[in-house]
Symmetry: none
Subunit: 225 residues, 3 copies
């Protein structure tokens, strides 16, 4: 019988064009082919998968980067396929729509949890299972950001399958009601599918858009880990 | 106030790299950049959006093609963004996993409806609203296939956000129980978001995989429209 | 062991008073004894089943008509019992409450699908299986209507077990939200039980009541098939 692992082993190289053994212990996930290309240039390593659904590269330190595309189903695919390699940690470098203050744009947001507004993760765990990063990975990333003299915001990301919603006042009210710090299309899925597949995972978003509706409460600004 | 149309008008060119006025009255949707490239070569027309999330091209007959990527959120995005152009018809050229007989591989499947297993469409209509192609477009496509001397299968497609499920016997039993002819990741979303946005839409899948579990009932073979 | 077919063979004549062999290849379904009687008068054929739960008649062209009564359970019964005869096509001539514009009253509505608000069909297929007419029968009926110089509306019928709901504003809002063109008590059941029993089926309703709440969007008027 075909197991999930069999499928993942067959498909990871097919989707990314990179052999399984080329993947490192640590994997960065991005939504942009451009980031994989920059990574390849910066570390002088080969970019695989051009013309395939996903692109990937690994540097000499054993850090891989994968562009898995946009949206929760693609996030679920890569988190399933990575079981073929069983990495020690997966960090999603995303972008999110900031939902609090306009001054927050460009800041790092480290999600401490994500709201499962995307449905995709329901195929992995019942809806009441919270979507969480692995604590140690989360802590590690937060410490590194502070060591670099940067600061970050922390809070809950709302993950949705909708992209065109800025006109929808009811939806924006909903985002406000659930006190989300930002909205994106992948974080909850990465956390839940990572949990299912026992992969350590974390997220780091940079806030990209102005909130059309500044929220009452200020997100927590953290200057020490 | 920003309307949905405002957003779509801003984002359609940003996502595809193609100006709104370059879109034709009829739009083909595909999951593969390669198909847009082939379309450009065949009709000698410019391919826009390389390096962007979507690629697009329009031939001299006013037919456009867009690669919107993979998965239901991306399907929802393009069906929302196309409101900026209000095309007369949108046809999804997809691939689906065949769920009936191995002999069906490579055949056209024209979905007469799709099961909304993807969640994404729930952001547009309550789950009991059936995901349907536009009758006239469906009829037109079926007639054209027959005129070309080809035949097709018709039935209901199951749309899911899962990609790695071939190992999951419960899920496969479910697909059997709901009598789906095939499984894909976009058709239900395209039908429902098209309905919401009042865009005529249809689907045509080619069957790509062997069913691991042949189904009792044979899909309907149609040799005249 | 008694099979479903055994039961159907025993009960179809008992319910309708008409021998199985008297049923034609094509069956019209109605909710009114009066229609069977008119059919008998028009074609000079015997009306069976007077005093029984259902009445039936067959004309010399091999077209039968059955009054199966009202409601989804009766619709399920007749669609099960007809397996005794395995007709080539079954067309439901129903009435529905028009949910769009008052001007639509008396027009033909050809349901392209039905919402399964009746529960009865859940005994046959899981709720996510869409309730659909057979494409070819639907197409045939639409072409015949147009050939007669009539036109029709097409859309989705909401099938319910409720008869007294006109006072219920929440329910009416729900009907609006799901964009139903009309409401009836049998169509979804006929479609789903027909699907289960592999009987080609279609529906044609005439719109009977004023909507208490005219809807924003006009149903599609179709003047060519």
């Amino acid at each position: 019988m075909t197991t999930k692992l069999d499928i993942a082993k067959g498909w990871l190289p097919r989707y990314t064009g990179m052999p399984i053994d080329d993947f490192g212990d640590y994997v960065l996930l991005t939504n942009f082919a451009f980031y994989v290309q920059k990574f390849g240039e910066q570390f002088g390593c080969e970019v695989h998968g051009v013309g395939r659904p996903m692109q990937a590269a690994t540097n000499s330190d054993g850090v891989s980067i994968v562009n898995f595309g946009i949206g929760s189903p693609n996030a679920a695919i890569i988190m399933d396929l990575l079981t073929a390699r069983a990495p020690k940690g997966v960090l999603f470098l995303g972008k999110c729509g900031g939902l609090k203050h306009t001054t927050e744009i460009g800041h790092f947001i480290l999600p401490i949890a994500a709201i499962r507004g995307e449905g995709t993760s329901d195929d992995y765990f019942p809806p009441e299972v919270p979507a969480l990063p692995s604590f140690k990975l989360h802590k590690f990333v937060s410490e590194r950001i502070v060591q670099r003299g940067l600061d970050y915001r922390t809070g809950v990301i709302y993950t949705t399958n909708r992209r065109v919603w800025e006109h929808d006042e009811d939806f924006k009210q909903r985002l406000h009601d659930v006190t989300a710090i930002g909205i994106d299309m992948e974080t909850a899925t990465i956390f839940i599918v990572g949990h299912k597949n026992e992969i350590s995972r974390g997220g780091s978003c940079s806030s990209r858009t102005c909130p059309s509706r500044p929220m009452a409460s200020k997100p927590k600004r953290v200057t020490h880990g």
